[in-house]
């Protein structure tokens, strides 16, 4: 279980301090699939970075399974069972897909075992295992590999920052199935996803709406989702196109 207690985070820009996260308290229970949504710029990605240790809160406490991890490093948190999928997957020169999956698993996996993780994200492993994790891969491919590394790491709390960002809708349709699979096999772990996609919100146990750095709604999918449909916090592929077109027409 992960608890955030009165977390605030601010940055200095142009000599002015700006609060990005304002006194956020929330709990991610075990065995739950939780989605954080809300408007762009509302602080969602920052909150994910605070959870995994990439950013340090200005004030407040982060508790993982009863232990205060506020001052723990990224590495320590990873070793304690946190996984994190970047919104924009990182590229490397010379590091292959197999290398990265092995590093994630923390052991010398056989290529066959590594392939299982790639197959789980819908990739034909044979075609990819020796490819370098660099710009020669498409956005959708990098995203899948990113998710495969989180699967290979095997975390008790996996955080995914906007898995839909930067990939085409066709790839995303396939990715949804990956998350549906994770949802079914969630035993002894929790999943936290930052997303705007209605299809991801639809498989959530709980939804948290973060807006202007504050939690404005939190509850079960049944309670929260109906109020979000049609807003930018919950969009389907098609309505996104319609909304954008509509916006331009005005």
């Amino acid at each position: 279980m992960l608890e955030l207690k009165n977390i605030s985070f601010g940055v200095e820009s142009d000599g002015q301090s700006k609060e990005i996260i304002r006194d956020v308290s929330l709990t991610i229970p075990d065995n739950k699939f939780v989605v954080i949504t809300g408007p762009n710029g509302g602080g969602k990605s920052t909150l994910a970075k605070l959870i995994v240790g990439i950013e340090k809160p200005t004030s407040g406490q982060i508790i993982l399974n009863g232990e205060d991890i506020t001052d723990k490093t990224i590495t320590e948190r990873a070793k304690m069972g946190m996984g994190y999928a970047f919104q924009q997957p990182v590229k490397f020169k010379g590091i292959t897909v197999l290398d990265l999956v092995r590093l994630a698993a923390g052991k010398r996996l056989s290529p066959g075992d590594a392939c299982d993780y790639l197959a789980a994200v819908g990739m034909c492993a044979r075609d990819y295992i020796d490819r370098e994790v660099d710009g020669s891969l498409s956005g959708g491919e990098l995203k899948r590999i990113e998710i495969a590394t989180v699967l290979a790491k095997g975390s008790s709390l996996s955080v995914f920052d906007e898995p839909e960002a930067g990939i085409d809708l066709w790839s995303f349709g396939n990715l949804i199935e990956v998350f549906e699979g994770m949802r079914e096999n969630i035993h002894d772990s929790s999943i936290l996803i930052i997303s705007h996609q209605e299809r991801i919100l639809n498989i959530a146990d709980e939804i948290i709406v973060l807006s202007d750095g504050k939690v404005t709604k939190q509850g079960s999918k049944e309670d929260v989702l109906p109020g979000l449909i049609g807003t930018s916090a919950a969009i389907t592929g098609c309505s996104k196109v319609v909304m954008r077109k509509g916006g331009e027409a005005k």
Partner: protein, 308 residues
Amino acid sequence: MIQLDEIQKRLLMEVADLHKVPEGAFNIRSNGESAGRQSSANIEIIPKDNGSGLDIRIKPGTKNESVHIPVVMTKSGLTEVVYNDFYIGEGADVTIVAGCGIDNCGPKDSEHDGIHRFFIEKNASVKYVEKHYGSGEGTGKRILNPGTEVYMDEGSYAEMEMVQIKGVDDTNRKTTANLKAGAKLIVRERLMTHGEQRAISLYDVTLDGEGASADVVSRSVARDNSYQEFEAKIIGNAPCHGHTECDSIIMDNGRILAVPGLEANNVDAELFHEAAIGKIAGEQLTKLMTLGLTEAEAEEQIINGFLK
């Protein structure tokens, strides 16, 4: 054959991946003298009359054979210049493994300057691997100054892998190549310097014939207080294709100078240069740390991959 000691054996393994006497043609040079030599039916290794090096003659049409000519030095204060000439006959397809390992435990500088000339005849194909390695706790420097000249006849192919990852204090490398019509040269250089080391690498590639092509790519890492210079010049005198790339990571107080040089003397010459120098991207470290690696482990993995 002279018996090699453990240090010499270790050096041989580092520079030529040799655990024992290689199959095929070879010459092992140890502390300035031959510690073993063998020619094969198709590959002749002949000492030059004046003792300054070797002539390696590969018969036309020789296929899938290899030549190993590693050099090891374990005496402090030894300085040598060696001239080896490779004559690769028409249509041959061979692998040549060179390399030099210096273990210097003494106070004097040890230096090996290997000048290798390659005469690659029509439609011949060569894969050349050269590894440099230094070890030893002595205060004397380990110095390697390789000179490589490549003369490529029509339709020939050469792939050269030059690796210097550890322990060489001072290097001045100069590689020149001259390509006739349809010849293709590929160079992959990997270099890491640390401590107070200094490495200079200059390439001068002339594309003289129609359809000649060259691809010279260097990947390097400069750590501690080390310094590197990479200068790659490609001259296109015919309809040809040339590409050079220098991709470098700097760490600590490392310094790198990359100098591109392209000269087109024919309107159909296509020449490209790319260069990038920078420290390890923070997000690469962060990604590996989220997988449970420490910052130092992440750094090591990123550099290993980069120089692989």
